[in-house]
C-alpha cells in the first residue's frame, strides 16, 4: 500500500462527520484538520491498520502524531 492509497482508506474507514474539504492530503496535512481527530478516530486507524496491514500500533504513539506524515511513518509506509 502506498501513501495515496492509505489516505483514501483513512478517509473511508474513519468516516469523519464532515467531508474533508481541504486541499489534497499530503504528508504535511495536520490531523487536526480533519473534523474530529478524536479517540474514536484513532481507534479506527488502529483497527484498519491491524486488519489491512497486519501491523499493531500503540495508542500512545498514535496520540503523538501531529501530521499525516507522522501517521504514515508510524504505520511504516
Amino acid at each position: 500500500m502506498d501513501r495515496q492509497e492509505f489516505y483514501k482508506l483513512f478517509l473511508e474507514e474513519v468516516d469523519f462527520y464532515e467531508e474533508f474539504t481541504g486541499e489534497i492530503i499530503t504528508g504535511g496535512t495536520p490531523l487536526q484538520n480533519f473534523s474530529n481527530w478524536d479517540s474514536l478516530a484513532r481507534a479506527t486507524v488502529f483497527n484498519f491498520v491491524a486488519a489491512r496491514l497486519n501491523k499493531k500500533l500503540n495508542h500512545a504513539d498514535l496520540k503523538q502524531c501531529v501530521t499525516m506524515e507522522d501517521l504514515t511513518n508510524l504505520v511504516g509506509i
Binding site: 469523519f16 479517540s39 474514536l40 481507534a43 483497527n47 486488519a51 500512545a60
Partner: protein, 298 residues
C-alpha cells in the same frame, strides 16, 4: 492466580434489562463502536431492582448464600445482598456478600460463588448489575454513549464431574475511575475512562487468555465492537463469538451472562472479562444445553 474447581457449575441464568431503549442517533458512533441501541434505566430504577427481577425468575430453594456485585450499588450500607435476601424471602441463615467489580466482575464474582458453593455444598445466588449510564456525561465525553444498564442473576451449585478453571489477574491503573468514594465527597458517582489506554490493555492482556482449546464459544465482555473485532481474529475458526453489544451497549459486569442468555450459548465456553482496576480474568466452563436461560425486562 489460577484455580480448578470441580463438581460445581452454572445451573441457571436470568438477565434483566430496562424496557427503555435508546437508539444511537450518531450514525458514525454507531458504526465505529457497533452500539446501535442501549437500554437505559429510568430515574429511580437501580441495579438492585434489575437484579431482583432476574433473581425472581430462578429456583432459589437450595440457595444458602447471596452475592451482589456492582460499581453502582444503591447505597453501601445496608448491603444490597441483604436487601435481596429480604425481598426474595430467603431464610436468615443465608450468607451475604457485596462486591465491587467492574467489567471483569462477572469472572471475579463467579469464582467467589464457585468457591463458596464448593465449601458449603449448597447453591449460591450471584447477582451482578450496573446502571453505569447515569455515571457518564459531559464530564467525560469519551465514555458517553457506550454504557447500557442491565443485571443478571446466576445460580451456582453442585454438578457431578464438572471441571471449571479460573484465571484472575490485576494491575493498578487509573485508566478507568469512578468518583463517589470518601475522598471524592461531595461528588456524585462520575465515571472517567481513557478508552485508548483501555483498548491497548485489553488487546495485550486478553490475548493471553485465548488458547486454542476446543471451545465451542468465546464469550467476551462486550466492551465495544472495535475491541471485539480484534478478538475475533485471535480465536479459532471453529469457535463462536456471541455478540449482543449492538442491542445493549456495554453493560459492564452483566455483559457476559446477558450474552449467554440472549445468544442462547451452551457447550464448552471460555468466558473472558476485562476492565476497571485494571482486572482481567477468564473462566473455562461447560454450560449445559438444558440450563434455564431467562430474559426479562423491567
Amino acid at each position: 492466580m489460577n484455580a480448578l474447581i470441580q463438581d460445581v457449575a452454572i445451573k441457571a441464568i436470568a438477565a434483566c434489562v430496562p424496557k427503555n431503549e435508546v437508539i444511537t442517533e450518531d450514525k458514525r458512533f454507531a458504526k465505529l463502536t457497533g452500539i446501535k441501541a442501549r437500554r437505559i434505566a429510568p430515574e429511580g430504577m437501580n441495579a438492585s431492582d434489575l437484579g431482583l427481577k432476574a433473581a425472581k425468575e430462578l429456583d432459589l430453594k437450595d440457595v444458602k448464600f447471596v452475592i451482589f456485585c456492582s460499581q453502582t450499588h444503591d447505597h453501601y450500607i445496608p448491603f444490597v445482598s441483604n436487601w435481596l435476601v429480604k425481598e426474595l424471602e430467603l431464610p436468615s441463615d443465608t450468607g451475604t456478600l457485596d462486591l465491587i467489580g467492574g467489567c471483569a466482575g462477572f469472572i471475579q464474582g463467579l469464582y467467589t460463588s464457585f468457591s463458596i458453593s464448593k465449601t458449603m455444598n449448597h447453591d449460591v445466588l450471584f447477582v451482578i448489575g450496573d446502571t453505569l449510564s447515569r455515571t457518564t456525561g459531559e464530564h467525560d465525553p469519551g465514555s458517553m454513549g457506550i454504557f447500557g444498564d442491565a443485571a443478571a442473576a446466576v445460580i451456582v451449585g453442585y454438578e457431578y464431574m464438572s471441571d471449571t478453571e479460573f484465571s484472575l489477574n490485576s494491575e493498578y491503573s487509573e485508566a478507568i475511575r469512578m468518583t463517589g468514594g470518601y475522598n471524592d465527597q461531595p461528588d456524585k458517582q462520575k465515571l472517567y475512562m481513557d478508552g485508548e489506554q483501555v483498548m491497548d490493555f485489553a488487546l495485550m492482556r486478553v490475548k493471553e487468555m485465548i488458547n486454542n482449546s476446543m471451545f465451542d464459544n468465546y464469550i467476551f465482555h462486550q466492551s465495544n465492537m472495535m475491541i471485539l473485532t480484534h478478538f475475533k481474529n485471535y480465536i479459532p475458526d471453529f469457535s463462536n463469538m456471541p455478540v449482543n453489544i449492538d442491542r445493549f451497549g456495554n453493560t459492564s459486569g452483566a455483559s457476559i451472562p446477558l450474552a449467554i442468555v440472549t445468544e442462547n450459548v451452551s457447550g464448552f465456553c471460555n468466558l473472558i472479562g476485562y476492565g476497571s482496576g485494571l482486572t482481567w480474568g477468564n473462566c473455562e466452563t461447560h454450560i449445559g444445553e438444558s440450563i434455564q436461560r431467562i430474559f426479562v425486562e423491567l
